[in-house]
Amino acid sequence: MSRLRPRVGRRFVAMLLVLVGAVVFTVRLVDLQVVSAAALNAEAEGKRAVPVSIPSLRGDVIDRNGEILATTDERYDVQLSPKNARLNGGEFARAAGGGSLATVQVTAEQAFEEIGEITGQTGEEIAEIVDSALEINPKSDFAYVKRAVDLTTLNQLKALGIPWLTFDIHYTRTYPNGAVAGNLIGFSGFEDVPQAGVELSQDVCLTGIDGEESYEKGADGVALPGSAVVRQEAVDGGSVRLTIDRDLQWESQQVINEQVQKVAAEWGLLTIMDIETGELIAVAEDGSVDPNDVDASDPTKREARSFVAPYEPGSTFKVISAAALIDQGAATPNSLVQVPDSWQPEANVSFRDSFTHEVMPMTLTGTLVYSSNVGISMLGSRLDEQTRYDYLTAFGVGQSTSAGLPLEDSGLLYSPENWDRQTSYNTMFGQGVSSTVVQTAGVYQTIANGGLRVPASVVSSCIEADGTVTEIDHGEPVQAVSAETAATTLHMLEAVVQESWITDFVSIPGYRIAGKTGTAEQADGQGGYRSDYVHSFAGIFPVDDPQYVIVASIAFPKAGEGSVAALTAFHDAAEATIRSFQIPPSTGGYEPLSTGS
C-alpha cells in the first residue's frame, strides 16, 4: 500500500489538475458562447459591418385620373475628399483609353477644370472649395462640389474616373405640371420640408419609413459584394389622390388668369365642383405658385386662397334667403312685393338697390333676376333672424370645410344675438357675412343636389405603398332644404339666366344654365367698405340633370367690367367642363317664371 500511495497521490493531483483545467475551460467557454456572446458578436460585426440607412421615397400626389402632379426626383450630390485631392498634389493615374493598359497622370488642377466644365463651375471655384475646407480642417475628407445634379451630369462626372470624387443620392420634389394646381399641392422649403398645401396636410401619408441595411467592408473600405444584409426594408410613402382633374384645372387657371389680366383685377378665383359628390374638379386661382420655382411667384398668392381667403359673397347668397322663404312656406316664386330702390325699414338702417328705379312690382323670382337688395330684404324679413341664421348654417356658411388642406377658413358668420340691425338685413343679400369660394360653391351644390349638401373634398384618398387605400373623411352630408324647395330654387336660378342681361354672356348653345351674379362690397380693414367690388357668378349646369357648379370671382378690377369678366370666366370654364366630361346637351326647356314686371 505504502508503495502505491505516491502513485495514487500523483494520479489524484493529475486528475485534480485536469479537472481544474476542464472547469476553467468550461467556464470560459460558457462565458464566451453564452454570457458575453451577444456583446462579442456585436463588437465583431461593428468592426467589419457598416450600417447604412436606406432612404424611403416620398409618395406622389396624383389627380383623379392618376396623372402625376408631384413626384420625387432622384438627383445626385457631387462630393470630394479635400484631403485626398491635395495628397501627392492630387495626382492620380487614369487609363489612357483605346484599349491599352497604359495610364496617364492627371494633376488635381487638371481634374478641377474637367469637373468644372461639366458642373458649370470654373476650376478655380472648385480649387477654392478644396482649399477652404482644408483651411478649416486639414484632415477634411468631405466637401460638396455641387448638389442635386442630374443623371447626365452624374454620368459625365463618373466617366472622369477621379478617385477622390464621390456621389450621393439626393431626393428632391418635382412637379411636372408646374403651376397646375400648385395652389393646392403646395411646396417644400429647405431640405424638402413641406410648407403648404397637400404636401403639408397629407405629410403623414406621403412620408415613408426609412429602412436599414449593413454590409461588410474590406480593409480598403470597399463593400464586399454579397455581404449586404437588409435589417429593415424601406417602406415608401403613399400616394395622395386628389379630386382635381389636371387638364380642367389647367384650363380653369388659363381662364381665370386671362380674365384677371383683361380687367386688371387684384385677384380672381374659379372653382368647379361635382354636384353629386362634392368633389372639387378644379380650384383655380390667378397667379398660382409653380412649386418648382416658388420664388418666381407672388408671395401673397402662394396659398390656396380658395380655402383661406373668405370674402363677402354679396348677391350670390340671395339664393339662401329665397330657398329659406320657400322651404318655410313664407313665399313662393310668385310672391309679389312693391319694391322701391332704397329702403329704410327701421331707424338707422338703410340700403339701396344697385340701380335706380321707380317703385317696381317684383316677385321673389324678380328680386333674384333684378338682384334687388330691397326686394329680397322685404320678403326675407318675413323670417326671423334665428331661422335665417339656421338656414345659413345648414348651407355650410360659417363652418370650415374639411376638404383635405392644412388650413380651411370658416368665413365669418356672427350668431344672430350679435347681429346689429343693419347686419340683420345685410345677411339676406350676402353682406356682413363672408365665405370662401368653396363654401359658396357648396351653397349652389346644395340647391342643385336636391337640398342635400355634400361636404366639399379636394383630397380623396391615401394609397399606401402596399396598395391599401384610406379614404379621407370630409364630414357628413346635411339636408339643408327639401328636394322640392331645391327644385323650385333651381328653377328661379334658371330664370335669372334667362330673364336678365347676363343671358348673352353665359349661354352655351344646347345647354340649360342656372345661376346668380354677385357684386359685393368688401371691408377695407378699417371699419368701412372699399369703393370697388368683388364680382362673382355662381352657375349650375345642365339644369335638367345638374352635374357641375362653377363659381367665378373677379376682385377689384381697375380696367373694364368685372362682372362681365366673372361671367366670361364661368362661361369658358363651363365650356371646358362640357368638353372634358363630354356632357350631353340638355333636354327639355326653360318654363318662364314671372318676375313681376
Binding site: 396623372e67 402625376i68 413626384t71 426626383d73 432622384e74 442630374d150 443623371l151 418635382t174 412637379y175 411636372p176 405640371n177 408646374g178 403651376a179 397646375v180 459584394p225 454579397g226 389636371r246 387638364d247 389647367w250 384650363e251 387657371q253 388659363q254 388668369n257 386671362e258 389680366q261 397667379g287 398660382s288 409653380d290 418648382n292 420655382d293 418666381a296 411667384s297 407672388d298 352655351i508 348653345p509 344646347g510 365650356e575 362640357i578 368638353r579 363630354q582 350631353p584 346637351p585
Partner: protein, 202 residues
C-alpha cells in the same frame, strides 16, 4: 492533413482483409481459435507496396481541395457578377426614371397647349353631338372655334424645351413664365442696369 490520411489508409486496407473467407454467422468461435490466419493475407497486401495507397489518398485530398477552390472561385465570381448586375439594374432604373419624368413633363397641359398653338391648331369650343337612338343632332352645328390662348400657367420644368411648329421645326417656346414675369415687373419699380438709353437722333 496527416490526421486525414490515417483513416483513409485503413479504409483502403479493409477490402484486402476481407479477401479471406466470408465470416459465416455461426462460425465465430472457430475463427477466434485461428490467430495466424489474418496474417497471411495481410502480408500479401503489404507486398503490394503502401506507396500506391498513399499516393491515391494524397491525390484524393488534392482533388477535394481543388474542387473546393474551384467552387469558392465560382461562388465569389457569381457574387461579383451579381453585384455588377445590380449596379447595371440601378443605372437602368435611373435612366427609366429620367425618361418617365421627361414623359410627364412633355405630357403637361402647358407643353401640349404650346405645341398646339405653334402648330396653328384651333379649338372647337362647343362641339355638337349626334344622338344615335334617334339620329338627332344635339347642340349647335354652326361651331365657334377659338385660337389657343397663350399659356398663362408657368411651368419651370419646361424651360429651354423647344416646341414643334407647323413646318416641323423646333422653335423656342414663348414661355408662360415670361408673361407672368412681365406682369410682376410692371408692378415694381425697375432698377436700370447699364447705360441709359439715348434716342437715335438724325
Amino acid at each position: 492533413m496527416s490526421g486525414n490520411t490515417v483513416p483513409i489508409d485503413r479504409e483502403l486496407l479493409r477490402p484486402l482483409r476481407s479477401i479471406g473467407p466470408e465470416p459465416a454467422p455461426g462460425a465465430e468461435p472457430e475463427r477466434h481459435l485461428r490467430p495466424a490466419m489474418p496474417v497471411a493475407p495481410g502480408r500479401s497486401a503489404r507486398r503490394r507496396s503502401p506507396l500506391l495507397g498513399a499516393l491515391t489518398a494524397v491525390g484524393i485530398v488534392i482533388a477535394i481541395f481543388a474542387t473546393q477552390l474551384g467552387l469558392s472561385i465560382a461562388v465569389s465570381e457569381g457574387a461579383y457578377e451579381a453585384s455588377a448586375l445590380e449596379l447595371e439594374q440601378r443605372d437602368l432604373v435611373r435612366v427609366e426614371r429620367v425618361l418617365n419624368q421627361n414623359v410627364d413633363k412633355l405630357a403637361s397641359p402647358q407643353n401640349l397647349a404650346d405645341n398646339a398653338a405653334a402648330l396653328g391648331m384651333v379649338q372647337n369650343s362647343n362641339p355638337a353631338t349626334l344622338r344615335l337612338s334617334d339620329n338627332a343632332v344635339m347642340g349647335d352645328l354652326a361651331q365657334r372655334t377659338t385660337e389657343v390662348q397663350p399659356n398663362l400657367v408657368p411651368n419651370a420644368t419646361l424651360e429651354n424645351l423647344p416646341v414643334v411648329d407647323a413646318e416641323g421645326l423646333l422653335v423656342s417656346r414663348d414661355f408662360g413664365q415670361a408673361a407672368a414675369d412681365v406682369e410682376a415687373i410692371s408692378d415694381a419699380p425697375v432698377v436700370w442696369e447699364g447705360n441709359l438709353p439715348a434716342p437715335d437722333t438724325h
